[in-house]
């Protein structure tokens, strides 16, 4: 069995390197060793699920997951619904359930997205908590819950309409005291479907000729709103998400295949375009919404 070490910190900053490792796993079966995991966010959790899904697809057998040793991390993963989602992805022994204590502080538990009904469920479920978190932790106006829900809806529909494969979404708030000195909300939506190059290829690849690839496909969709649908009303989702994220001084990035493209605010030093990554299927979207300055 091939052992793949899960980084001690698995989040938006480290998940690409983790995917690169998964992209090159060979035949056999993989053990995802998460025993030393000490920090994970929605990008890490959903990333672990898509990584396991990809390993299973390549190897024809469910990978094994060694759960974190830290009770805090395991408890957090449980509250986020990770182990429930992981039952379909990993051969693992879920940790013993702890009795439910106080009401969960989770903004949006890991939720599979396979059909439009799942998008409705996400939008319905997030209403009550999102309102409180966006106003109290990020200092956004009470009406921001609508735009936040619209972002979630559009980004989840991206999976259904373009991936032709299931995916997951999760969101949670954090205090990025050291990195930003502010609270943030992190949203992660990922799938292992066709990716942007696959979705747009039939309609647009000829126009790009030899230049067609993951980077040009991401550029076309992310910056120029290209879609595979000929209807002029389509292709608005990502454009409108970008616009709203910019209004909130947030960051959004999408990895698809060998490239990652992003809209980077001043407070973030992530490069807006990264290419030459190992080929990884589907699309992996990360959104970070910071508190208003001074909150």
């Amino acid at each position: 069995m091939k052992v793949l070490s899960v980084p001690a910190s698995l989040d938006g900053q480290t998940v690409d390197g983790f995917f690169d490792q998964v992209a090159v796993v060979g035949e056999g079966r993989t053990l995802f060793d998460a025993r030393h995991l000490s920090w994970i966010d929605p990008s890490g959790m959903v990333g672990l699920l898509v990584a396991g899904t990809e390993a299973a697809r390549k190897q024809g057998t469910l990978p094994r997951l060694e759960a974190p040793e830290s009770a805090d991390v395991t408890g957090y993963l449980s509250r986020m619904g990770f182990f429930e989602a992981a039952q379909e992805v990993f051969d693992s022994d879920p940790p013993a359930r702890r009795p439910a204590g106080r009401e969960s502080d989770v903004l949006l538990e890991i939720t599979p997205i396979a059909a439009n009904a799942d998008v409705h469920e996400v939008v319905d479920r997030v209403q009550s908590k999102a309102g409180a978190i966006l106003t109290s932790k990020l200092g956004y106006p009470a009406t921001a819950v609508v735009q936040f829900s619209v972002i979630l809806s559009e980004v989840c529909q991206n999976i259904i309409e373009h991936a032709e494969a299931p995916g997951w979404v999760a969101a949670q708030s954090y205090n990025w005291a050291r990195r930003l000195g502010r609270n943030v909300v992190v949203i992660s939506v990922m799938d292992v479907g066709r990716g942007f190059r696959g979705s747009l290829g039939d309609e647009h690849s000829a126009r790009y000729g030899d230049r067609w690839g993951d980077t040009t496909a991401l550029d076309a969709a992310f910056l120029h709103g290209l879609t595979r649908f000929p209807d002029s009303g389509r292709g608005q989702g990502i454009q409108q998400i970008r616009r709203q994220v910019r209004r909130w001084d947030g960051a959004i990035s999408i990895r698809s295949g060998t490239a990652r493209i992003g809209q980077v605010p001043e407070w973030d030093d992530t490069p807006p375009l990264v290419d030459g990554l190992e080929p990884f299927p589907g699309a992996q979207i990360s959104i970070v919404l910071p508190a208003k300055a001074g909150e």
């Binding site: 439009n116 998008v119 409705h120 939008v123 319905d124 209403q127 009406t143 609508v146 735009q147 829900s149 619209v150 809806s153 559009e154 529909q157 309409e161 002029s232 009303g233 389509r234 608005q236 989702g237 409108q240």
Partner: protein, 192 residues
């Protein structure tokens, strides 16, 4: 009414619950928007040669871009393509959280629509020229204009062009009986 307009009031929140499922309380996802739009179109099929529909969004909490495109922009676009039926629309309950989505989808398709954005306040949303906007405001302030009032009210030729365009785009209604042009907001007041 003797203006030949069939007036129809449609509560989108009620259509959503009846058409798709009573479990859904928000207008999100394109299939949901498409189903609601088709239900509205089915209601309009029973109308006469001309209709004025008041599409009420006030019970809709979340409206995403996909649904705004189907329920507002595509509804307008498809109705304007009809040769047998002349349909006019006013959207009410377009509160601040819905406004951006509706404005965006209308602009994207080169459309405009009359919307009640606050109680008793109507605006022209979407894609329009300056002349169309000014003509629409002039008509909105007066409620209706007869042919003999146009020159005084609209001023120069640009104003008249804008006025003719808002009539052609069904953002105002010319009565076939009197020749007067009416602001749509005036015509829906009694069904609001």
């Amino acid at each position: 009414m003797t203006d030949g307009l069939d007036r129809i009031a449609i509560d989108v929140g009620e259509v959503l619950q009846r058409t798709v499922t009573s479990l859904y309380s928000n207008l999100v996802t394109r299939p949901t928007g498409r189903a609601v739009r088709m239900a509205i179109e089915a209601r309009l099929q029973d109308a006469g040669e001309r209709s004025l529909s008041l599409i009420d969004l006030s019970e809709v909490v979340i409206l995403d871009f996909s649904c705004a495109d189907e329920v507002v922009a595509r509804l307008l676009e498809r109705s304007q393509a009809s040769l047998s039926h002349e349909a006019f629309f006013v959207f009410c309950g377009v509160h601040e959280p819905h406004r951006d989505q509706i404005q965006t989808v209308l602009e994207r398709r080169g459309l405009a629509a009359v919307a009640e954005t606050q109680a008793d306040t109507f605006e022209l949303l979407g894609d329009r020229t300056r002349a169309e906007g000014l003509a629409w405001i002039a008509l909105e302030e007066r409620g209706f204009l007869g042919n003999d009032e146009l020159d005084d009210t609209l001023g120069d030729a640009e104003g008249r062009v804008g006025f003719d365009l808002i009539v052609a785009r069904r953002l105002a209604f010319r009565s076939p009986n009197t020749g007067r042009v009416h602001a749509l907001s005036q015509l829906v007041r009694h069904i609001l």
